[in-house]
């Protein structure tokens, strides 16, 4: 089982969600985050005092998938989140040790 963590531009959330449900992936956790990579921030001005806002709002999506579905899922996210501009984000794939469904106690891929 693999955990896909994707940091994307906030306005792309709906597209990514749709794209994943089209290939049958329905479970997601979404967090609002701030960050930067290569994309530069912007400047705000309050009564003559300038503030450089380094951190840009992003959305973090986490979804756990079966090993076989990993490539499809990653491709679906990339297709939906890409705008060909700096700041589109990144995807991290990590290994999942164990998954348990709280209600029934099922474990492993059945719990995904």
């Amino acid at each position: 089982m693999k955990l896909i963590t994707a940091i994307i531009k906030p306005f792309k959330l709906d597209d990514v969600r749709e794209s994943l449900s089209e290939i049958g992936i329905y479970g997601l956790t979404v967090t609002e985050v701030k960050g930067f990579g290569r994309q530069k921030g912007h400047t705000e001005l309050y009564r003559g005092a300038e503030y450089v806002v380094d951190f840009l709002p992003k959305v973090k999506i986490e979804t756990a998938v079966d090993d076989e579905r990993l490539d499809d899922a990653v491709e679906a996210i990339i297709k939906a989140a890409n705008t060909d501009k700096i700041g589109d984000g990144k995807i991290f794939v990590t290994n999942i040790e164990q998954t348990i469904r709280i209600r029934t106690g099922e474990t492993g891929p059945d719990a995904l």
Binding site: E44, L45, Y46, R47, G48, A49, E50, Y51, V52
Partner: protein
């Protein structure tokens, strides 16, 4: 014949019967308007100024601002009752009143001030004594100890506000000299502005100021407060006519024009200089316009107000940049450049635009006994400079004393990072 004589005789007795006792009379219309104005001025502080300032600080300090405004409203009111009103408005002293009206002694249901109840006049003035210290909190926001604010308010009202009120409105030396200050350019705005500047310098900058991230946390709150200030100011200046008449109407009109002009001027200036007009800039320009017209509001005409509002926008804008960027003084909510400089500018311009010789830009005339613009401006300058210097020195000494009594006026570094809401009040502004 007898009937006619008797009728005339009894009719002629009427005046004697109706006015048996020689009591001073109350003008109902004037009283009604000043009752209303009093409410409007209190509204300026609660919640107008509270919200305006509250939105400008960090979210972890929002309650400290709201709390300080409410606490000052309470403390200043009690102080005014106990001794403030007396020190400001009693006696024949040139510099301060006496204690004859302590605890509002002699202020009864029937007492009269001019042609309104004295209790109302004293209450109207009370709301001014409330908003002036509330303005000052912008100078030391986000790093002051709450206990220091309370003690400072009491001492400052006693040694700065009450005496200067006496100088300008209570029969003191500036009033005798013919100073034109209709609604508090010197009494409220110069004093508050200078006090904020002095205390800001003494307490030192916020850590966030040094780091360069003092952005407001809630602009919608600030704009809401700004709207309340504009409306409330109609009572502040309009009510200072102490009558429901042409003077009040003109004062209200010129106040409004200056507010509108100040707002648009600052907005356009910022647009040109930095590329975008901002909400904060527009409302700050509005406040600058309002503060600047305040001393002149009873003496100038509408066209004069347009010029005053415009100059307020331009001068206060540059004063803000000077204090912040050039001198790097953390007068956190820009009290001095907006109210202090605005008050000084307006008091000066009152000397010009009161003139009846300016054609369309004429006003209602100089003070009694003053014949020329030069003479009036001279008096205005004396008022500005004396208020500035006295306030600066007295505020410095008072803040020093407060620091000794409250074991320092500033919270610790750690406490400043945590936020005053938790540290001073054990409360959160928001539960998200």
């Amino acid at each position: 014949m007898l009937k006619t004589f008797l009728s005339i005789f009894f009719l002629s007795l009427f005046p004697l019967i109706s006015f048996a006792a020689d009591e001073p009379s109350i003008n109902g219309a004037n009283t009604a308007w000043i009752l209303t104005s009093t409410a409007l001025v209190l509204f300026m502080t609660l919640p107008g100024l509270a919200l305006f300032y509250g939105g400008l600080v960090k979210s972890r300090n929002v309650l400290s601002i709201l709390m300080q405004c409410f606490a000052i409203a309470g403390i200043a009111s009690i102080f005014w009752l106990v001794v403030g009103y007396s020190l400001a408005f009693s006696g024949d002293g040139a510099f301060v009143g006496n204690f004859s009206k302590m605890m509002f002694n002699g202020v009864t249901e029937g007492s009269v001030s001019g042609d309104i109840p004295e209790s109302l006049f004293a209450l109207f003035q009370m709301t001014f004594a409330v908003i002036t210290p509330a303005l000052i909190i912008g100078g030391f926001a986000e790093r002051i100890k709450f206990s220091s604010v309370l003690l400072f308010t009491i001492l400052w009202l006693a040694f700065v506000y009450a005496p200067i009120t006496h100088w300008v409105w209570g029969g003191g030396w500036l009033q005798e000299m013919g100073l034109l200050d209709f609604a508090g350019g010197t009494v409220v705005h110069i004093t508050a502005g200078v006090a904020a500047l002095v205390t800001a310098i003494m307490i030192g900058p916020r850590k966030s100021f040094v780091r360069g991230n003092t952005a407001p946390h809630n602009m919608t709150m600030t704009i809401t407060g700004a709207g309340m200030l504009w409306v409330g100011w109609f009572g502040f200046n309009g009510g200072s006519a102490l009558a429901a008449n042409g003077d009040a109407a003109m004062a209200m009109l010129v106040t409004h024009i200056s507010a509108a002009t100040g707002a648009i001027t600052w907005m356009c200036y910022e647009w040109k200089k930095y590329g975008k007009p901002t909400a904060l800039g527009s409302v700050t320009g509005m406040v600058a316009g309002l503060g600047t017209i305040t001393p002149a509001s009873g003496f100038v005409g509408p066209a004069g107000a347009l010029v005053i509002g415009f100059l307020a926008g331009v001068v206060c804008f540059n004063a803000t940049l000077l204090i912040k960027q050039k001198f790097k003084i953390d007068d956190s909510l820009d009290v001095f450049p907006v109210h202090g400089v605005g008050g000084m500018l307006g008091t000066f311009l009152a000397g010009i635009f009161a003139s009846t010789q300016l054609g369309l830009f004429s006003g209602q005339g100089f003070a009694d006994g003053i014949e020329s613009m030069g003479a009036q401006i001279g008096v205005q300058l004396v008022g500005i400079i004396s208020t500035f210097i006295y306030t600066a020195i007295a505020t410095y000494l008072i803040f020093k004393v407060v620091g000794m009594i409250t074991n320092g006026v500033r919270v610790s570094d750690d406490e400043e990072s945590q936020g005053l809401d938790l540290v001073d009040h054990n409360e959160r502004g928001y539960e998200i």
